[in-house]
Symmetry: C2
Subunit: 309 residues, 2 copies
């Protein structure tokens, strides 16, 4: 399926799980001719039919072992709770020199769940391309998803340098910036920037869902700035997010405790009419926004009403 004159980065690539991220990666590999053969694995025939229809793979299977056989690169892109079983299933199919990577939002658990199952000579290079939308499934993917975003790699110390570089090169081709990081540190950073915000969004949308009937209808009708953003976040894939919280439990609970303490302090300030406390906190948060903007993680909102009160 090579479409350019440069040789493919990898001969055979196995994509285990082919939702938003892996299907977007498949599109990048197709576009740039990065893989000699793409083998896609999914749990259901329905998904695999869709993958073939979309032309995202050269072969499809429901068996991770079949997909991974003779692969030069395996990329796990299924919910984190499936990793251990997948690793177990495909272990005996992996050839020496194969690179096993993934796209999960938690990284310590990959080393814990996948590492022990891999035969000697197979390289584990966990990766987290920080990109996504609230949509899921292979039809939701697109090749431009990764452009200008960060991809964090968290290989254990002593991992084969060439294997790490090969994974880095793949994501660079997808348009990403590469950052090396310790897995435990990655999990702490993502807990506060992504996991806890998602949990909060799920919570407040749930709180609104539980309101008395007609009040709930009006909440939907007049969903202004803040809440509408939250409903988008809270529309994300339930299975994927369940597994994120269960696998990054320690860091999420730690950051959630800090958040809860801070929220209680603000609630207390409101109850006691302490306007200055509120003003000070609200002023301070503008600073971090400036940091985010200058770190170019910001894309200006398209719509004017996002801050509606």
């Amino acid at each position: 399926m090579k479409e350019k004159n440069t040789p493919p980065l990898f001969g055979r690539v196995a994509l285990i799980g082919i939702g938003l991220i892996n299907s977007s990666l498949a599109r990048v590999m197709r576009r740039d001719g990065l893989a000699g053969h793409i083998a896609a694995c999914a749990r259901t025939r329905k998904t695999l039919d869709k993958v073939m229809e979309l032309g995202l793979a050269d072969s499809v299977t429901t068996d991770p072992g079949v997909a991974a056989r003779d692969a030069d690169l395996v990329v796990i892109g299924s919910p984190l709770g499936t990793y251990a079983e997948i690793a177990q299933h495909m272990a005996s199919s992996l050839k020496p020199g194969c690179i096993v990577s993934d796209v999960g939002s938690v990284k310590e658990s990959v080393i814990r769940d996948v590492g022990p199952h891999l035969p000697p000579g197979v390289h584990l290079v966990p990766a987290h391309p920080i990109a996504g939308t609230e949509h899921s499934g292979p039809e939701a993917g697109f090749a431009e998803l990764f452009e200008t975003r960060w991809c964090v790699l968290t290989p254990a110390a002593g991992t084969d340098a060439a294997a790490v570089e090969a994974v880095a090169d793949l994501w660079r081709r997808a348009g990403m910036k590469i950052q090396m990081m310790e897995a435990s540190r990655h999990d702490k950073v993502l807990a506060i920037t992504s996991h806890v915000p998602h949990l909060i969004a799920y919570t407040i949308v749930g709180t609104a869902t539980d309101l008395e009937g007609d009040l709930r209808d009006e909440v939907i009708k007049f969903s202004a700035g803040g809440f509408r953003d939250f409903t988008r976040i809270a529309a994300s894939d339930p299975t994927m997010w369940r597994d994120v919280f269960l696998t990054n439990k320690e860091a999420v609970l730690e950051m959630l405790s800090r958040f809860s303490e801070d929220l209680i302090a603000l609630r207390r300030a409101i109850r006691r009419d302490e306007g200055q406390t509120l003003f000070d906190v609200f002023t301070r948060t503008r600073e971090i926004r400036r940091g985010v903007v200058s770190a170019q993680q910001h894309i200006p909102p398209k719509e004017p009403e996002d801050g509606a009160a």
Copy 2:
């Protein structure tokens, strides 16, 4: 300043406070020739100079009484905490038949803070155009801000029908849909759709700000989907939001209690590895998102990474 052949809706309009909302309203009135004369009032000369430079008003003053004298319509657009004093200051300048309205995000407090100061024959029609951005000040406004959004009017029972209709007509000209509602009900709905989401966004961005130095730097660098949305919300005007929380205290505290209980339940589920509980909540929240989308309060996100994990 009439620019069309239809007569202006109002002879003299006084805009008390001219930030994002009132300056956008001024632009609409200019564009469509809705006001014979626009008098702008702000606390500082700097703001008033900017207003004249932008051509948003025919006269400017720092005195609400001067602006309101002989006005047919007064629109208060300053932080909610200033309403009582403004009403007191301008009361003696108001002519019979004048309509006093506002654009604040809390409505019961308007009736409480402004109502008692108005002389007989002056009509109070509180309004909340649900639109905004995280930017503030007269230079941040634009005439299209209100298009397709809701404007909620909360006049007390028995308010002059022609006055209510005049205010409704103004906001319709700005492109808004009009909804009549009781003030107390408005305040409850907005507490959950807007006020509590903003408080939460301020809180979590504050929590991140308090992280140890190098961890905080990485949080800014890798601010993914959820968190970046939150930083935008948390960049909103501190004074305006302080006053929102203090004036809508009861409803905010009530909704905040519900939210906190729900968050504790999810935290408990994470701690006890209760995946099914998490999955059920996350699945249920997709429904309300569908409601928001079908209520046309949703505009598709421009950028692909908004749901990044």
